[in-house]
């Protein structure tokens, strides 16, 4: 009989709570969780297709071992879990003796929940080479905050006076709701959006600055300049808690509104209005994890943007980006708190990103394909991955080549994919709804949610890591746990509740341990070299490298990008579509079937000039090649700019984005700052990329 149970969607990273109706071990339908005390459910278009995702015919259902050449599904035969774990463990122990621990890379893709266990596994094995998709996702954003403030604080939107949303579109990237934005407007606050596109979020704002992509830093400097010139900044805060302001003021003066308007493609008036609106404090800044930093000047641009928090006197004060003094419980599963890596200076980045190494406790893996293929700085013999997607990297064909070459490659995944085709062992993981969950609600209530589905021979990723650790006799607090239940008990301990008592409480339990945030951290000293807010970075000033200016220098990427006459359009990849989540949902027919894909989004005037209309085929070129896309004419796209969603199996735009086109500070690719040409596809032709 069909039963409806509270469950975690888990298709993306949001962890939305849903009501799942299940019968005969299959999901019948899902809905956002409703009528549960403590729970605010949510369900987006992606989650609505959850049953096609979870019950997909490509799902991995048992461990597989390669017995023939790479590249063919028929080369793989089922193997028992204990046999697979034992073989992998023996191989890794032998490799460590022969080539040292650093010859093994441990890599985490999507999702993020298991990363502490994987970080422990890498550290206990002795390798500095734990890395993740954060090599091009969230870490550069964190670096900018660490450089300026020594911490990364969330916007206190519940108490802000004004909300600044910088290149974020929750209408498509979260549950689709604009309620948070509307709540600020309802209490009289202004919502300002900076985004190269008119998104539903931008369209709902009080002020939208439609800048050219990658000009964020110039705009922020111009706004800072107006705040300073018009004496609208928080002088007392700057004098007491900041360093480098005089040099910053002089630099920002180079960005008067009239000059900056031309750089950014907005009016002088709107820049001045922006500055006047945000003056006076209580400014919350909401920035998506990667939109600003997918640019070769990304960290510097984001530093300039977040300095507006200090300038307006909003930093770490209620209503700003702030450790809000609210009592919060926490599970002991923060995926950013990783075990200290051994031998950090010997990681595969080869010293190319020293500021990353100083601030980020994982190896920058954006050059992983080069490392494997060139064996520089040293040979990587073994790659142990959980959710590695080769299409994530710029020029992903290089990564596919590397996966063919690496001596020993283990893939843990949900689906059979092109990484599996190159692996020696393929291990099947549970989706979020197939494993037991403990959930902490915003009001500090805990639930135990047993999976409404039976996992079969699939395992939770952490269980796989524990079994590998046990087989290799590797130890840490987490690795010494007996099994996945013990892990759930472990992460509950920081909330003061045991798994046994939570299992016995179907209505859940309140957390017994909570902690309140402590705002005004600048009074106690920040974790920057100076202990203060740094307009001039103490860390960056240690390096004499291109792009490492201690001030938040605006280097216009368009001037660095090459032949603008041949490639006149600015290409942004990754701007969200509601039904897509990186590569994850293309295989879901109800989602991939909603729109033609791959698609190029153009302003209708640009399209018309090129003789293109909606639905036509267009060829997009960069120096790396040409690919064909279906045209979507969108009046919300800025003329001169095109948007293409990434990772499409029918043509991944990442093939046309250079693997050397990187931010020198973070190593992040210029996914949202690349030049291209667009032409009408006149006749069927050989279209390929090198």
């Amino acid at each position: 009989m069909a039963e409806t149970k509270l469950a975690v969607c888990g298709l993306c990273s949001q962890g939305c709570l849903i009501d799942a109706t299940v019968e005969n071990d299959r999901i019948v339908s899902v809905m956002k969780a409703q009528n549960h005390p403590h729970v605010k459910g949510a369900l987006c278009v992606k989650g609505a297709a959850l049953k096609q995702y979870v019950h997909h015919p490509d799902r991995l259902t048992q461990p597989l071992k390669r017995v023939g050449p790479k590249g063919s599904r028929s080369s793989y035969v089922p193997v028992r879990w204990d046999e697979a774990i034992s073989a992998i463990a023996q191989r890794l122990l032998r490799a460590r003796e022969e080539s040292g621990a650093k010859s093994c890379v441990f890599f985490a893709g999507h999702p993020k929940w298991f990363r502490r266990a994987l970080g422990d596994l890498a550290a206990a094995y002795g390798s500095p080479n734990y890395g993740s998709e954060s090599s091009c996702c969230n870490r550069a954003h964190g670096m900018a905050w660490d450089l300026v403030y020594g911490c990364n604080l969330r916007p206190d939107i519940a108490h802000c006076r004004n909300l600044l949303i910088w290149s974020n579109n929750p209408a498509y990237s979260r549950d689709g709701s604009l309620a948070q934005l509307r709540s600020v407007q309802k209490r009289g606050g202004k919502v300002i959006v900076v985004d190269p596109r008119v998104t539903p979020t931008a369209a709902a704002a009080d002020l939208h600055l439609q800048i050219y992509p990658g000009t964020d830093g110039a705009l922020a400097l111009a706004v800072a300049n107006v705040l300073i010139q018009e004496n609208l900044y928080d002088r007392e805060f700057i004098e007491n808690y900041c360093v480098g302001f005089d040099a910053f003021r002089a630099y920002a003066a180079q960005f008067p509104p009239e000059r900056t308007a031309a750089i950014c493609g907005v009016s002088e008036e709107i820049i001045v209005r922006f500055a006047r609106e945000i003056a006076g404090g209580g400014l919350s800044i909401l920035i998506s994890s990667c939109s600003i930093v997918h640019c070769v000047n990304g960290v510097q641009n984001e530093r300039a943007v977040i300095m507006l928090s200090a300038l307006t006197g909003s930093f770490d004060r209620p209503g700003g980006n702030c450790s809000a003094p609210t009592e919060k419980a926490a599970l002991n599963d923060n995926h950013q708190k990783l075990a200290q890596r051994p031998d950090i200076d010997a990681d595969i980045s080869g010293g190319a990103y020293p500021v990353w190494q100083a601030l980020v406790n994982e190896a920058q893996c954006i050059r992983l394909a080069d490392v494997i293929l060139t064996q520089q700085p040293y040979p990587v013999r073994n790659l142990i991955s959980f959710g590695l997607n080769p299409q994530m990297w710029p020029q992903p064909q290089r990564m596919l080549e590397a996966l063919e070459k690496v001596e020993f490659f283990v893939v843990t995944d949900l689906f059979w994919n092109e990484a599996c085709e190159r692996a020696d062992y393929v291990l099947p993981a549970c989706t979020a709804i197939e494993r037991d969950q403990v959930v902490l609600t915003p009001d500090n209530h805990l639930f135990y949610l047993p999976s409404p589905l039976t996992p079969g021979d699939k395992l939770p990723d952490v269980e796989i890591m524990l079994r590998l650790a046990h087989a290799m006799d590797l130890h840490s607090e987490i690795l010494d746990l007996t099994d996945f239940d013990a892990y759930l008990d472990y992460i509950l301990a920081t909330a003061g509740v045991s798994l046994a008592e939570l299992k016995a409480a179907p209505e859940g339990l309140p957390a017994r341990v909570t902690k309140a945030g402590k705002p005004y951290s600048y009074e106690r000293g920040l974790k920057t070299p100076s202990g203060k807010v740094e307009f001039v970075s103490g860390l960056l000033s240690r390096y004499d490298r291109e792009g490492y200016a201690a001030l938040p220098e605006f280097r216009d990427w368009r001037a660095l990008a090459g032949d603008r006459a041949r490639y006149p359009f600015l290409l942004v990849s990754g701007g969200r579509r509601p039904q897509l989540f990186h590569s994850c949902t293309y295989r879901v027919p109800w989602l991939s079937g909603l729109e033609a894909h791959p698609m190029v989004f153009l302003h209708p005037d640009d399209a018309a000039r090129l003789g293109l209309a909606a639905g036509d085929a267009a060829d997009v070129s960069t120096p790396l090649g040409t690919m064909r896309f279906t045209v979507f004419a969108d009046i919300g796209v800025k003329p001169g700019v095109v948007h293409i969603y990434h990772d499409d199996p029918g043509g991944n735009i990442n093939r046309l984005i250079g693997s050397d086109w990187l931010d020198p500070i973070s190593g992040f690719p210029g996914f949202r700052s690349t030049i291209c040409a667009v032409e009408k596809a006149n006749a069927p032709q050989e279209v390929d990329s090198k």
């Binding site: 339908s29 609505a48 209408a171 109800w590």
Partner: protein, 132 residues
Amino acid sequence: MSRIVSDNDKCVGCLACVVTCMDHHFTGDDPNAVSYRKYKPFDLPRGLTQYLTESCRHCADAPCIDACPVGAITRDAKGWTHVDRDRCVGCRACLHACPYDSPVFDAAGKSRRCDGCMACVQVCPNGALHLE
């Protein structure tokens, strides 16, 4: 009236209603799965090109009922119109009769329409859909 209508000022074009409709009416492997909510892009005065959605209006004076040559379309006591899929011959007379281009067709060519299940109303993150 019995119909589900969209407040297009609140709609963000996320298409959650479109897929939820399929989720609540079809198994994941049903080749005839189709959403009863149609969507297409519009250039909106607020400055972007965005999907808007709609489903059968279950008109008081529904021309599709008379147009159906096999009498497959009926109206229930609450005002919802229904297509008897077994009787539908796939002639699309309902589509030609409909002033709003509302009927949708599954892979077998059979006419389908909104049955007022309310799943789309429940899922809409911005409260754009409601029963009228």
